[in-house]
Symmetry: C2
Subunit: 428 residues, 2 copies
Amino acid sequence: MNADDIKGFFAERDQLAMADYLELDYYLECIGDIEVALAHFCSEQSTAQWSRIGIDEDFRDLHAAKVLSWELIGELQQLSYPVDQAAEGAIHACRVTIAHPHRNFGPKLPNLMTAVCGEGTYFTPGVPLVKLLDIRFPASYLAAFEGPKFGIDGIREMLGAYNRPIFFGVVKPNIGLKPEHFADIAYQSWLGGLDIAKDDEMLADVPWSSMARRSELLGKARLEAEALTGQKKVYLANITDEVDRMIEQHDIAVKNGANALLINALPVGLSAVRMLSRHAKVPLIGHFPFIAAFTRLEKFGVHTRVITKLQRLAGLDAIIMPGFGSRMMTSEEEVLSNVNECLCDMGHIKRSLPVPGGSDSALTLENVYRKVGSVDFGFVPGRGIFGHPQGPKAGAASIRQAWEAIEQHIPIDTYAQTHPELKAMVEK
Amino acid sequence: MNADDIKGFFAERDQLAMADYLELDYYLECIGDIEVALAHFCSEQSTAQWSRIGIDEDFRDLHAAKVLSWELIGELQQLSYPVDQAAEGAIHACRVTIAHPHRNFGPKLPNLMTAVCGEGTYFTPGVPLVKLLDIRFPASYLAAFEGPKFGIDGIREMLGAYNRPIFFGVVKPNIGLKPEHFADIAYQSWLGGLDIAKDDEMLADVPWSSMARRSELLGKARLEAEALTGQKKVYLANITDEVDRMIEQHDIAVKNGANALLINALPVGLSAVRMLSRHAKVPLIGHFPFIAAFTRLEKFGVHTRVITKLQRLAGLDAIIMPGFGSRMMTSEEEVLSNVNECLCDMGHIKRSLPVPGGSDSALTLENVYRKVGSVDFGFVPGRGIFGHPQGPKAGAASIRQAWEAIEQHIPIDTYAQTHPELKAMVEK
């Protein structure tokens, strides 16, 4: 590209009709001249060749991605992670904000992903390391998305649960239980005070625990638990399956009494989530398998906040995400950023319930609550409930007792003295 | 886990009915005792809690993933890439082969991904860095998949093109052209000798170039080019879209004369590809956006060969992949491994056409051919045809001339002396 060509990929914000553009933030490590690399980066993700040979035309006006601003983070002695590449020159770490015209692809998640984290993004000459840090959508783009049907408020109304976190529990053993035994321990956990008994993300429709049979038994157990406790309960059934079976799985599960559905968002694809959301009669809860494979490293891939934002846009009413605690290998700042993406203003798109999870129990609830800073979150222990030494009913009770202690500003150790289920966890 | 617990996650191959298991190879960097970390790694991706509290049962026999073998690569002073994690102890790089029981999830791509590259894989305590290197499927598992409907042989029959590579061209300008102009230059490229004129992976169904209009014009242009040249031609239409529009887009495009369809496999999701493949009346060609985000780094994520294998299993008749040449930042060994995954024996699953691409032109054809080592590949220039100084017809002709030179064992520079289209590329 010559100097004139390069200029075609830079713009000032006030030169552009920003309602026609997404704003993208990227971290880049680029080799050689920075502005040349940035121009190529924009070109590759939009108008790679902007005119026909021999024709005087320029598609960049309408269709080019353009650099709005960039800042140099620093010069590096080597790439932060080694990459098999051949460019030569000084290496710089930069942060760039790009305006990308959404007319190139429209309000469609697969085409959006292709544009902002596709071949252009990851195969720009001289830009071996890239992390997509954030996307901002103009209202004109958001208008085409329905977002969550229920959202936090819908889930709270369904449960009649206000001014407190929503208590989930992952039924364990996660793999291998007969549906009858699965229903039995879920039932016990509801009696102990759980709001939502959930399938593990790995347990879906299998011959030894079919969705039809499991949802039938859990649906009945749920009604019994509701009758006995006088409280609404939720069975969260995992309908992750081949895309062409998801609607059918939804219908079977809901008919049988599952009243929320779990979906592994990236394994089925965000677009399949959007499809399911349009059909859904009950809240859809997303789980996070596969996301770590492209988000864990600081300087390559895609930031989790982008994926959280897209999951909300796709219509997930609650988003289970790696939470606090060292097991989840996610910084506090990153978890809070994802919690915020569920809760922040996004035009007409409802708020999703953030569910930061990982090795939780009665002992971690206060920490999660303090860090989130409000009651608007879901809490999702697994072994912390179903591995309780006194069984799942006691496990669920220990969680509710931990919350009572927090509400009453009583130290958990003190409250445990008069609450044996909590005490068993404190002593464990 | 105690020593006995750990033993439950190790097995010898001859102790297991291997038809019930997938074999998984992982690269790991683990912290602390290696066998403890490997047991946790297996536990987290299968039976995280293998019995109910107070019940004498053990789900590991049927449902646990088990280490078949592992080798120490070496001790490391620090993790190869920094990760926010808290485990302490010696760091070791290992390679492990695991038997994972497919009864846990069945022959379903989203559930397979959840098991082998999901939460368990990436959130095992003490295992911050993981790369899934390979998957091997027993025949009993493959039996549930249809694979490609056409495959290489089907594509060759359709085109009447044998004993040579298949010549694709990405119509450029990729974004912004009116359908009329798009059809015109595709037509010229067919006359010049191209087999397949293709939409860019970023160009799908947009108001300024709707699939209905584009496929109508390209379908007509294709028939004219076939009449004039006496050769079969293909218009490869990109129907990447929201999952619930893909079938409709397929039907519109095929009715109008598109006779192969492009799909961005990861952005729509592998399961959506499988769904589409069952419906497809024409070959499906996969493109690779997003894959680099979790495959580029040597020691984290998923290896591209796994994704190539899954794309073939999902039913893609041809797989466009990062090819040779430094722009694609992929080692020759990795490209060849992906080419091999398309072509190797996979039971009843047909062979896919590998299409290693990236900045190709008449000048790179011989290199690609020599490296692949056979004629069973697709060659996919973009600007190398549509940026040819004499226009797209000459661009396509230059590719065919380069192939003639190779077939006749004539150096390209010599052949160019009597072939002006090739000469223009050599001199460019």
